[in-house]
Symmetry: C2
DNA sequence: CGATCTTGCATTATCGATAATTCATAGGTT
DNA sequence: AACCTATGAATTATCGATAATGCAAGATCG
C-alpha cells in the first residue's frame, strides 16, 4: 500500500504543476471528451458556451482551444470558429506509421542516456497503467500509456521532435478508442509494456527496436501489415 | 507583366485571408525574426514588451505566442514565460529525416489526387520562388518553398499529418538559414523544384519519390548521408 | 423569378484592468 | 554560516466589456 501511494505521487509529479491554471484544466477536460468521442468529429465548439459551461471567461476558453489545436484535436478557422478534428482511418494509419518511425529511429540515443530516474519513472507509469486497468478506466490507462512512451522518448533529448510524438500518440489512442468496443483487455495493454522495459534495462537497442515496432504495429489492426516498411 | 501580377495574386490567395487579424500579423512577424535569427535561441519573450512594441494588447501577443508554440518555434512554460526554441543539429537532422518520410511515403495518394488546380498553384509558387530569388530575398524564398511542399502534401488529403510537415519544414529552413552564409545560390534553390513538378505532371510516383527524397536530403549537408534509411 | 443588397444576430477578436504566480533579495533565526 | 521567511518587483493568467467579422434571412431591384 505504501508502495502504491508512493508510486502514485511520483506519477503525479511527472506532470508539471499546471493544474492551477484554469485554461489547462479546461484543456485536459476537453481533450478527454474528444478522445472518448463525447465530443464528436466536426462538432462545433463555441467559445462563450464553453465559458459558461466551465465557469470561466472567453479568453480562458480560447487558450484551451489553442492548446487543443496544438495537438490537432480541433481545427480553428479564423473568424469562423472551432470544430472537433475528424478521425479518419487514413490519417490514423499514417500517424501510427509515423509514430513507429519516430519512436524506433532514435533508440540508440535513448539507451545511451537511460539512467535510474528513467527506470524509476517508467516503472511508476507501468504501475499507474496497471491500476487504471484494474479499475477499468480505459482513458486513464491511455493517459499513462502516452506518458510512458513520451517519457521514454524524451530521453533521446530531441526536444523539437517530442511534440510530434505527442501528437501521434493522442491520435493513435483516439482512433483506437473510437473504433473498438470499450473495455476489452485493459490489463493486457498495461502488461504489453513489460518486455519493453526489460529490453531497456538490458540496454539492448536492437531488441528494443523490435519490441517497440511490434508493440506499435499491433495497437490497431490496420488491414495487411504495418510492419512492412513501405516508405522510401 | 500581366502574367506576373496574376501569379502574384494567385499566390496571395493561397494564403487564407488572415491578415486582418492582429495576432496573425504578429505571428508572421515573430516567425520571421526567429527563423532569421534576429531573435536568438533561448531568448526570453515577455508579453507586455511585445505588446508595446507591436502596439497591441497582451492577449493578442499571447495568442501569437501560442501559435508559434504550435510550430515549436517557442517554448512556453506555465507562469514562467516564453523563450525562443533551441536549434540544435540533432533535432534538425531528425526533423529532416522525418520530413523526408512524411513527404515521400504518401506520394501515391498525391499523384492519384493531383489535378489542374494543384498544377496551377505549384507553378505559381515556383514563379514566386523565382521572383524572391531574383530579389535576393532568402526568407521570402523560404516562405514560398514551404508553401510549395505544403500544397503538394495537402493533396494527399491527410489533414492530421499536414501540421507535422509544417513543423518539419519551418525547422528545416530555420536550421539552414541559421547555419549558412546568407544569399548563396537562391535561384538554384528555386530551380531545384522544377524536376519535381515535371515528375508530378508525368504522374510518375517512383520518379517523384526519388526526386523528392534527394531534394530533401540535399537541403542541408548532414555529415555521412541522409539518404540511407537507418530507421527500422 | 433570380440575383444582389441590406439588416440583425451569433460569434470571434481585441482591449484594458485586475488577480495570481514566480523569482530574487533582504532580514531574521538557530 | 546555513536555513527559513517575508517582501516586492516583474511577469503571466484571468476577467468583463467592446469592436469587428461572418452568416443567414429578408428586402429591393432588374
Amino acid at each position: 500500500m505504501a508502495v502504491e501511494s508512493f508510486s502514485q505521487s511520483t506519477v503525479t509529479e511527472l506532470v508539471p504543476r499546471q493544474s492551477s491554471r484554469r485554461s489547462h484544466a479546461l484543456f485536459v477536460a476537453l481533450q478527454k471528451e474528444i478522445v472518448l468521442g463525447q465530443l464528436v468529429p466536426e462538432q462545433a465548439l463555441t467559445e462563450l458556451d464553453l465559458a459558461q459551461r466551465f465557469q470561466c471567461s472567453q479568453g480562458t476558453v480560447r487558450e484551451a482551444l489553442m492548446q487543443l489545436s496544438e495537438e490537432g484535436l480541433v481545427k480553428r478557422l479564423p473568424n469562423r470558429g472551432t470544430h472537433v478534428a475528424p478521425c479518419h482511418a487514413d490519417d490514423a494509419r499514417a500517424l501510427l506509421e509515423l509514430r513507429r518511425d519516430v519512436e524506433c529511429r532514435h533508440l540508440d540515443r535513448v539507451v545511451s542516456r537511460a539512467d535510474a530516474a528513467l527506470k524509476g519513472d517508467l516503472h511508476a507509469l507501468l504501475n499507474a497503467m496497471r491500476n487504471a486497468a484494474r479499475d477499468g478506466d480505459e482513458y486513464l490507462l491511455s493517459v499513462h500509456d502516452r506518458a510512458f512512451h513520451t517519457r521514454l522518448f524524451e530521453t533521446a533529448d530531441l526536444p523539437l521532435v517530442t511534440p510530434i510524438l505527442t501528437r501521434c500518440l493522442i491520435h493513435n489512442h483516439r482512433y483506437k478508442i473510437l473504433n473498438s468496443q470499450p473495455n476489452r483487455a485493459l490489463e493486457e495493454t498495461a502488461e504489453r509494456h513489460v518486455p519493453i522495459l526489460h529490453a531497456l534495462e538490458a540496454r539492448d537497442v536492437e531488441a528494443l527496436r523490435g519490441l517497440l515496432s511490434h508493440h506499435i504495429a499491433t495497437i490497431v489492426d490496420f488491414g495487411p501489415d504495418l510492419t512492412s516498411v513501405d516508405g522510401a
